[in-house]
């Protein structure tokens, strides 16, 4: 008690040993005391959480800690451990279970020193509980898990690798025994945990038992009788198994075995729904002629699965194994049978449950029903496999990318299940990101078609609105095939007829509603398409996509902002779907604003309004994004093309214009304090600054000399600026314009902003993202009109015409110079036209 008084607060280290001791007293049952399952046992989680929160076992060791405290703490942990070990050796299985579980936690929490000094003892203790004489299941599972934790921790000390391998080797046989002889699924799951730790961290220990492990796991997977979770865990172990040998051949062999096994199972499953030739073809790709068939998976053949059920569990687990093999790292280069994997994917996706004509008489409707009910699962795994292939192969997929695109787009046209569509969208995103612009040009039409379809169709969020709202857009878009594939039981030809567009059916049918998650996937995909491929050959689809995204964003936000806090009444995943949808739609909208285009974003003002509202009203994540969007769009509105460093100061020493530009840099550099007023002033002023031998310019130089601290001239008085803005009708203004013609879009934007309303502003998004080409293009137009009309110039025309129809001469390249007081600057415009031939002459 006296000790307790000395404690400062909950961070006091002195608290920890005391706390640990009272935990031991309170929760850990003494040796001879019977454990009351209903009380102390149920409080284990809270015990664990206290231990973890306060790091009670960590035994912090540093110079600053009182050595007495260290000793107290050490003895407390000693007591804790001795208590655990005595529990562990108890013959009561419940006590034993408590001890084992807590030892697992200790492996994770204790100090390095303590772990290294006692891991081998702990390992032997735990090992005895997974060996016969058989103990309770819970004890076995807990020991496996604790051992797995021990190995995980041990793997972090490279210096004990050898010893670790040796000890881990002792575990392999008992684990195999559990797998082979125990008949409880939960125990296998525990064994799989341990096996995973063994293979992942101490692969060398498995080396001798390679075939046995393979056989044991294969037996379980091929029987296909157990829960997906267990099968997946075991499958993961099997997929990692080649690491035990870590050579090129064992990886390829394992992969080949998987593929052959999948193939064989498919042959069996697809009898009747697929033509024979397909299976032969797949086989031919798998085993090259003249080569021997490898031994089947697991060594011997395990035939005789029940024929009533499809071997879905087995096939899907095997495909999961393939995925894991492709996405886990491997120490050496491996030969991946890409072609046969892709053929497998194509084969599976091609089967949709319809019957080929030749097979009609041989199938019963029960059989067909069976296949149709299992197909979605198989297709989902199949798409997972495709994703894994793309991940694993990365750039080297290039020679096969066209094939993949064909498979994916063909399947996209028919696929209507939400989960599968989401997966398809993610495949498309991966392709776009990994293959870049080159593929975007060719993928765009399919992406657009599907995404527009999904976004235009009725969804969960539109339930309250009348179909009329979405009606016209849906009608205008190309209709996808009828979604009710599965009822096309009779013939394929009937389905072809159903494929004809029938918009009416689609809108009234509630099954046609696109779930919100699919819409999100579509939005994300459009976003990626815009980032990757908006610059290239996008004229045909760009405007419709922009308007679609704007519409979607407005629709998503019109009924208020989604709640990001997860609702405790709802199951976990559905908590913030609505907010996620808004997030996706806003992100896609921002991308559509920022992506390169030839005209300015037509919906910018609505978009800005949306972001502004979102910033103020929405929850944390959305508001943060809206703030970011406004920030990103600021550059679009005030484009900058800042030079690298103070390049010009050096570069222009020889040329007359040097110091002017130096000055200008400073101005653009000071955009931080970017109130729109100030920046507007500054723009106008830069015109003045740039002119050669101009008295304004001289005054600015003076100004600058006064402000010694040139590079941080935020402190230039606003009055000065105003003063100068009021004098743009200076005779030297012609020169300004002349310079301006070759200038990048850096400083020319928001003058218009101030003169006109937002909509008539010139295409500044273009300037932002293509600053150089635009600047270049306008200059080009001036120099050599023979090249033909540039769209930008047309854009300029357009804007200039709108801005002020009385400025016909100002079209070429110089519309950017329209000033606040255009009346006075009017006088100088003829000057530009005069200047143009001069420039040309100069360059020649």
């Amino acid at each position: 008690m006296a000790r307790f008084d000395q404690l400062e607060n909950m961070y006091d280290l002195g608290l920890k040993p005391v706390m640990l001791r009272s935990l031991i007293r309170q929760y850990l049952p003494a040796e001879n005391h019977p454990l009351n399952l209903n009380n102390s046992c149920f409080e284990l989680p809270s015990l664990v959480s206290i231990v973890q929160t306060h790091c009670l076992l960590s035994e912090l060791d540093s110079q600053s800690i009182d050595p007495k405290l260290i000793n107290t703490w050490k003895s407390a942990v000693d007591d804790w451990l001795s208590c655990l070990l005595s529990l562990l050796s108890s013959d009561m299985s419940d006590k034993c279970w408590v001890g084992i579980c807590l030892l697992g936690v200790t492996c994770q929490e204790c100090s390095n020193q303590r772990f290294l000094s006692s891991y081998s003892i702990w390992l032997i203790k735990l090992l005895s509980h997974i060996q016969p004489p058989a103990d309770s299941q819970l004890v076995k599972i807990a020991s496996c898990t604790s051992l797995a934790d021990l190995l995980t921790r041990l793997a972090r000390f490279p210096e004990v690798k050898k010893d670790g391998n040796l000890l881990a080797g002792k575990l392999v046989q008992p684990v195999l025994k559990l797998l082979n002889e125990d008949n409880v699924e939960a125990v296998w799951e525990g064994a799989a945990n341990l096996l995973y730790a063994l293979i992942a961290f101490f692969p060398a220990s498995i080396h001798h038992y390679y075939d046995k492990v393979e056989a044991a796991i294969a037996l379980k997977i091929l029987s296909g009788k157990y829960s997906t979770k267990t099968l997946k865990k075991l499958g993961y172990c099997l997929a990692l198994l080649p690491k035990a040998k870590a050579d090129k051949d064992s990886w390829s062999l394992m992969m080949q075995k998987f593929l052959i096994s999948i193939n064989d199972h498919l042959n069996e499953a697809f009898q009747g729904v697929e033509e024979e030739a397909k299976s032969d073809e797949a086989r031919r790709l798998l085993v090259s002629p003249g080569k021997d068939l490898p031994l089947p998976l697991g060594g011997a053949s395990f035939k005789g699965t029940s024929s009533e059920r499809l071997p879905t569990a087995t096939i899907s687990t095997l495909m999961f194994c393939c995925c894991k093999m492709l996405t886990s790292s491997y120490p050496v280069q491996v030969t991946v049978p890409v072609r046969s994997m892709l053929a497998l994917v194509e084969r599976l996706l091609r089967v949709d449950g319809s019957l080929p004509h030749t097979m009609l008489p041989f199938m019963t409707s029960v059989q067909q029903e069976l296949i149709c009910s299992e197909l979605p699962v198989l297709h989902a795994y199949c798409l997972e496999l495709l994703i894994a292939i793309i991940k694993g192969m990365r750039r080297q997929l290039l020679p096969h990318s066209a094939y993949i695109v064909r498979v994916v787009t063909r399947y996209f046209k028919r696929c209507s299940l939400p989960e599968l569509r989401i997966k398809l969208y993610s495949i498309i995103r991966m392709l776009l990101v990994s293959m870049g612009v080159g593929i975007a040009i060719y993928l765009a039409p399919d992406v657009i078609e599907n995404a527009s379809y999904d976004l235009n169709s009725l969804g969960g969020e539109d339930i309250e609105t009348s179909p009329a709202n979405t009606g016209p857009a849906t009608g205008a878009l190309p209709q996808l095939s009828n979604r009710k594939r599965k009822h096309g039981a009779k013939t394929g030809s009937l389905e072809e007829k159903q494929d004809a567009p029938s918009p009416k059916v689609g809108e009234s049918n509630t099954h046609q509603m696109t779930p919100i998650t699919v819409k999100m996937a579509a939005l994300d995909t459009l976003e990626v398409l815009l980032t990757v491929g908006a610059a290239s050959k996008s004229e045909s689809w760009r405007s419709s996509i922009d308007s679609l995204l704007m519409k979607t964003a407005i629709n998503s936000c019109k009924r208020g902002w989604g709640n990001l806090e997860s609702n405790i009444f709802l199951p976990h995943e559905s908590a913030s779907v609505w907010a996620d949808f808004q997030f996706s739609s806003l992100r896609a909208l921002l991308t559509s604003f920022l992506a390169p285009a030839r005209t300015r974003p037509p919906y910018l003002s609505q978009g800005l309004e949306l972001f502004r509202r979102g910033k103020q009203e929405a929850g944390m994540k959305l508001a943060q994004f809206c703030a970011y969007a406004l920030f990103a769009l600021e550059v679009l509105i005030h484009p900058r093309a800042l030079p690298l460093d103070d390049f010009y100061s050096a570069c222009h020493n020889s040329t007359d214009g040097a110091s002017n530009r130096f000055l200008e840099n400073i101005y653009s550099g000071s955009q931080k304090q970017n109130t729109s007023f100030l920046s507007a002033m500054r723009r106008t002023e830069q015109g003045g600054v740039e002119s050669h031998d101009d008295d304004l310019y001289d005054r600015w130089l003076q100004n600058e000399n006064e402000n010694e601290n040139q590079n941080e001239n935020e402190n230039i008085p606003v009055e000065d600026m105003k003063d100068q803005t009021s004098r743009p009708n200076d005779p030297s203004f012609t020169n300004v314009l002349e310079v301006r013609e070759q200038e990048p879009a850096a400083a020319n934007a928001d003058v218009h902003m101030r003169t006109e309303n937002e909509i008539v502003v010139q295409p500044w998004h273009l300037e932002e993202s293509v600053p150089k080409s635009q600047g270049v293009a306008s200059a080009k137009a001036v120099m050599s009109p023979a090249v033909g009309t540039n769209p930008e110039v047309d854009g300029f025309d357009h804007v200039a015409g709108k801005t002020s129809s009385t400025l016909p001469n100002a079209k070429k390249g110089s519309s950017s110079m329209v000033h606040l007081d255009s009346d006075s600057s009017m006088d100088s415009f003829p000057g530009i036209v005069d200047a143009d031939p001069d420039t040309d002459a100069d360059s020649d």
């Binding site: 399952l37 046992c41 149920f42 989680p45 664990v48 973890q52 009561m92 299985s93 579980c101 492996c107 994770q108 309770s136 819970l138 995980t152 972090r156 090259s288 996405t327 790292s329 280069q333 491996v334 991946v336 049978p337 072609r339 991940k391 694993g392 990365r394 080297q396 290039l398 990318s401 066209a402 064909r406 293959m435 870049g436 612009v437 080159g438 593929i439 975007a440 040009i441 060719y442 990757v532 610059a535 290239s536 390169p596 093309a641 030079p643 690298l644 570069c651 040329t655 007359d656 214009g657 310079v739 070759q742 990048p744 080409s773 600047g775 270049v776 200059a779 420039t839 360059s843 020649d844």
Partner: protein
């Protein structure tokens, strides 16, 4: 560690210098390269096409590993290859032939994946776009073409289109000498130089000419500033012209429109340029065999490397993940493995030898790092849940065990009590009997 590698058209080997310290590293022997012939393959090793005498019918390509001065792998493509380039992760090598054909090889297997007739005359330079999905080629016929690799590999689509290229720029009238591509993916600009004394700026997104810059002399090399403010054009008159892209220029500049300055060292013709983004350095190779390092900010030469007497015609800046030379000694077994085993030579013809390989690919699987995760505490929660529900068989089993033990204990207790009872009874009976006998004896 950044190193500069440079080669020459006359055999002076491949020079290699540390860009920061200026120290010369290994010199890789026997290399006489054409312009744009030197490249690194994913930073793993060096590859260079070789100049051959005009009568030679086949090409010559060499690989050097970083650690050995001798060329270790020799390939003999079907015709002389001049420009050579690898994509950024080093999975493909692309070469341009003197007949106008472009070849794509897979590095890991050496297989010739594709070959197509790209230009009417010899290819002079090749460049990959930022994301490696587009290939830009320049030719002696003055043509610059943009290819999508996706299209090249799509056998079905190839037959449907009239031409394979995405864009073909024909405005140059003479041999194209150099091409660079800027930042921005599909929205990038391409700058090409030609013997017609012009550099032209093209838009990749719109596929047409944006700017034409006429120079006083022929430009053989260009380098682009990463901010795309300017580009540098190395000319045969020995000057490096600074040309405005995004920067403003006035018509009164001395050299011509858009040319806003020059870097000059009274040297012989500039043959190649490279820009090092870290430190903003511009490297120029010259016909006098020197490599000059310019600080573009101050426009001064900060360092000179002497390569050989012959003209330098290739400079490449390579960022190595580990220092040269030390790689073999220790600590990086994986990179060592890469380095020591060079891939097989490039094949001469497509579809030769192993047809099976068409269906396969040699891949280094991506490295994934999993944080170690511990399961015990989760397991406790799971099991406790099971215990609370009391439903599962495992719990039942445990409960049964406990009950059995209880039962055992009760049985023992029973036995004990029984014993005590027996003892007590015996005692009482004895007592009674004793009393009776005593009474009986008294009575008697």
């Amino acid at each position: 560690m950044s190193v500069v590698i440079a080669s020459s058209s006359i055999d002076g080997g491949i020079g290699c210098w540390d860009l920061q310290t200026g120290a010369e590293q290994l010199r890789y022997k026997t290399c006489a390269s054409p312009p744009h012939g030197l490249t690194t393959v994913g930073c793993r090793f060096l590859a260079c096409s070789q100049l051959r005498d005009p009568s030679a019918t086949s090409g010559h390509l060499l690989y050097w590993s970083w650690s050995k001065p001798q060329a270790q792998v020799k390939s003999f493509p079907v015709e002389p290859i001049k420009p050579l380039i690898a994509n950024s992760d080093g999975t493909y090598i692309v070469g341009g032939g003197s007949s106008g054909d472009i070849y794509i090889w897979e590095v890991a297997t050496g297989r010739l994946l594709k070959k197509w007739h790209a230009h009417y005359r010899a290819i002079t330079c090749l460049v990959f776009s930022e994301d490696d999905s587009l290939l830009i080629s320049g030719s002696e016929d003055g043509c610059v073409r943009v290819w999508s690799l996706f299209m090249i590999f799509d056998d079905v689509r190839r037959q449907q289109v009239s031409h394979l290229y995405e864009y073909s720029f024909t405005e140059h009238t003479l041999r194209v000498t150099d091409i660079v591509i800027g930042y921005g993916g599909g929205n990038a600009i391409i700058v090409s130089a030609s013997e017609d004394r012009t550099c032209k700026v093209w838009s990749l997104s719109k596929g047409r000419l944006l700017r034409n810059v006429v120079f006083p002399s022929i430009i053989d090399a260009i380098a682009i500033d990463p901010g795309e403010h300017v580009f540098y054009a190395g000319s045969r008159d020995g000057k490096i012209y600074i040309t405005a892209l995004n920067a403003e220029s006035s018509p009164s500049d001395n050299y011509g429109l858009h040319i806003i300055g020059s870097l000059t060292d009274q040297s012989k013709p500039v043959t190649c340029l490279a820009y090092s983004a870290e430190g903003n350095l511009l490297l120029s190779g010259s016909e006098d065999g020197m490599i000059r390092v310019w600080d573009v900010k101050t426009q001064n030469i900060t360092r000179m490397f002497r390569h050989s007497k012959g003209p330098v015609n290739n400079i490449v800046i390579v960022r190595l993940p580990y220092p040269l030379g030390r790689a073999e000694s220790k600590s990086q077994p994986s990179s060592r493995k890469h380095e020591l085993s060079l891939p097989p030579p490039l094949e001469k013809y497509a579809n030769s030898s192993d047809e099976d390989m068409d269906n396969k690919a040699i891949v280094m699987l991506p490295d994934t790092i999993d944080l170690p995760s511990y399961l015990s505490s989760q397991l406790i929660n799971d099991h406790i849940k099971q215990l609370q529900q009391q439903g599962s068989s495992a719990v039942a089993e445990m409960e049964a065990k406990r009950l059995k033990a209880d039962c055992q204990r009760s049985k023992e207790m029973f036995q004990q009590l029984r014993k005590v009872y027996d003892n007590l009874q015996e005692f009482c009976v004895n007592e009674l009997l004793d009393e009776q006998t005593m009474e009986g004896s008294k009575g008697n």
